[in-house]
């Protein structure tokens, strides 16, 4: 008898506590992440300017790739685990276009005779950058050539599965298979050792209003800005972009409006894949080229897309910036080893998702 009373008291307390938590999390909870993230961004911009700026540069690339990821997820309905490897693959295509180098036998690389590095003055450094116009062209070529590869993968892997009514889980696993295959191809052609587009020392520059940064990072910043603007214009100011967003919202209704969903799907790979590939080429300039890097990149990019609210292009870009800044600043504090960068990012992601399950800018329900 006493036990039964006790139990009911406990149950009531639990129920009340649950109610309180629900009320709290429903009213204030969704705004807590904004306050924390906003506060952290403001503080780090002032107190840790160096890491903040590097975080913004790296984060803008995460953001661009995350926009690609979120578009492919929302429109093509693929949880694209090959996304990081697509970035690396595009970077290797750019590297190949610039240097013509592939891995040879023990003696070293085999260099194909026709490559952009041979063009007159192509490797002559522009301004304080470490590279000449050859690399700019190579990046354009790398990002462009990655698109038909993605279209072929969609045509021959994802679409046949979708036509058979495969679940999202099966498509995700298929994309993991694509990722592993792409990595295999990269290892085979360019070897496991890390590479850089161009060797030599990186010059730093002083730009008014910015801390001293490597000149190449300034280039990355400008390029990311141009790409983000282009993506915004395409998605929000063109008929094609509106059709893409319409299809992400409701593919059946898009068909009822006369939108060619097969063509829109292809354009999604062109736009989303192109952005991702370009971000990959630029990221390799920031760090390096390595077949293993693709899988490592996958984590912050998924984190960015989910943090911003899966399906939201604005959210994905914002998520990328946050992931970039939080990672750089957390490690820059010197308290924890750089090896924990991803751990910090994911703890933040989990905290945000618990408080705001739809992500920062995700659609309600």
């Amino acid at each position: 008898m006493a036990q039964a009373v006790e139990k009911s008291v406990v149950e009531r307390e639990v129920a009340l506590a649950r109610q309180r938590t629900t009320r709290w999390s429903q009213t204030l909870g969704p705004w807590v992440p904004w306050l924390l993230i906003g506060g952290f961004a403001a503080w780090s911009a002032v107190a840790r300017t160096d890491q903040f700026v590097v975080g913004v540069i790296v984060g803008s690339l995460y953001g661009l790739a995350a926009v690609g990821l979120t578009l492919i997820y929302g429109i093509a309905r693929v949880s694209h685990f090959a996304h990081g490897d697509v970035m690396m693959f595009a970077a290797y295509l750019a590297f190949f276009a610039l240097t013509g180098a592939v891995v040879g036998s023990q003696t070293g690389d085999v260099v194909f005779p026709f490559h952009l590095g041979q063009l007159p003055g192509a490797t002559e450094p522009i301004w304080r950058f470490s590279f000449g116009y050859g690399l700019v062209l190579a990046i354009l070529i790398g990002a462009t050539l990655a698109v038909p590869v993605l279209l072929a993968i969609d045509r021959f892997v994802y679409q046949p599965l979708l036509r058979r009514g495969s679940s999202t889980a099966i498509l995700a696993v298929a994309s993991l298979g694509v990722a592993i295959s792409m990595r295999g191809v990269m290892l085979l052609i360019w070897g496991p050792t890390g590479r850089r587009y161009v060797g030599g020392i990186r010059t730093t520059v002083d730009i008014p209003g910015l801390p001293r940064i490597v000149a190449d990072q300034f280039f990355i910043m400008l390029a990311a800005g141009v790409l983000a603007t282009a993506a915004y214009v395409v998605l929000y100011r063109t008929r094609l972009g509106t059709a893409m967003r319409a299809m992400a919202d409701n593919a059946d209704l898009a068909r009822a409006s006369g939108i060619d969903i097969a063509a829109t799907r292809r354009w999604t790979w062109v736009v989303g894949g192109g952005l991702t590939a370009a971000a990959g080429c630029l990221l390799a300039l920031q760090s390096q080229l390595s077949p293993e890097l693709g899988f490592i990149l996958l984590l912050p990019i998924f984190a960015s897309a989910i943090l911003g609210g899966i399906g939201s292009p604005h959210g994905a870009f914002l998520g990328g910036l946050i992931v970039g800044v939080v990672g750089e600043v957390a490690v820059g504090l010197g308290v924890i080893s750089p090896g924990y960068k991803m751990a910090v990012i994911f703890v933040m992601l989990i905290a945000v998702i618990l408080l705001r399950p739809r992500g920062l800018l995700g659609a309600q329900s």
């Binding site: 967003r245 992400a248 919202d249 409701n250 059946d252 898009a254 006369g258 969903i261």
Partner: protein, 239 residues
């Protein structure tokens, strides 16, 4: 009510369904120029499935679909839109993350020009939409959403509008508004084929109606005939 021309839309002994099970069996209907035609019937009678197979979401297993006498059986929704059909689903009938104006622009996706004029025409027909053209559709009330859904479907000046339960889950006042819109749309020259639970209100504004039961044709008649038929009154109007 037979017109001398071929009907705008006809289903000729249509059989269709999901998987292995036929939901619609051997159903024939036709909609003449300028007509409002309503399909009523109990839950599970196959009314919505009939609309979906007419509009090409579901393949026809047997039978044909004819638009102005042309056989369009097997055409996809994307293609049928270009033949003058328009379809408003019962739920999820707007693009929630697009603005009102973007929803309408998508409704007019196949127009090569004149989208803006057509949007103005739709705004004139539904002034409530013109008030906040930049509002996201997901933020609209149920009634406004239904209005936007109708407006989106009208962007291409369809010859026939297919409506799946346009009055479902609306307040009584909004139901009146939606039916008034249907009459107005029809008055401006678009034939209407609708499926309705609200049989009494729907038949009252319809030229003709069909009663579907167990996926088959059961009765056919003018709106008033069906309203007065003993069987319809007993089975579907609850009298």
């Amino acid at each position: 009510m037979m017109t001398e021309h071929a009907p705008v839309l006809a289903a000729d002994r249509l059989t269709s369904g999901y998987g292995e099970v036929p939901i619609v069996r051997d159903v024939s209907i036709r909609v003449g120029h300028d007509e409002i035609v309503t399909i009523i019937g109990p839950n599970g009678a196959g009314k919505s499935t009939l609309l979906k197979s007419v509009f090409g979401y579901l393949p026809a297993w047997h039978g044909r679909v004819l638009v102005a006498g042309d056989d369009v059986t097997g055409l996809t929704p994307e293609k049928l839109v270009r033949r003058g059909l328009a379809y408003v689903p019962q739920t999820n009938n707007v693009f929630p993350r697009l603005t009102i104006r973007e929803n309408l622009a998508m409704g007019g996706f196949t127009l090569t020009n004149g989208v803006k004029d057509r949007i103005d025409w739709v705004f004139e027909l539904f002034p409530v939409l013109a008030e906040r053209p930049r509002e996201r559709a997901g933020r609209l009330s149920g009634g406004q959403r239904q209005t936007l859904a109708l407006a989106r479907a009208l962007m291409l000046e369809p010859v026939i509008l297919l409506l799946d339960e346009p009055s479902a889950s609306l307040s009584p006042k909004m139901v009146e508004t939606v039916f008034a819109s249907v009459i107005e749309i029809n008055r401006r020259g678009t034939a209407v084929l609708m499926v309705e639970q609200n049989a009494r209100r729907a038949l009252a504004i319809s030229h003709r109606g069909y009663v579907l039961a167990n996926g088959e044709n059961r009765l056919e008649g003018s709106g008033s005939e069906l309203l007065e038929s003993d069987e319809v009154r007993r089975l579907y109007l609850g009298e």
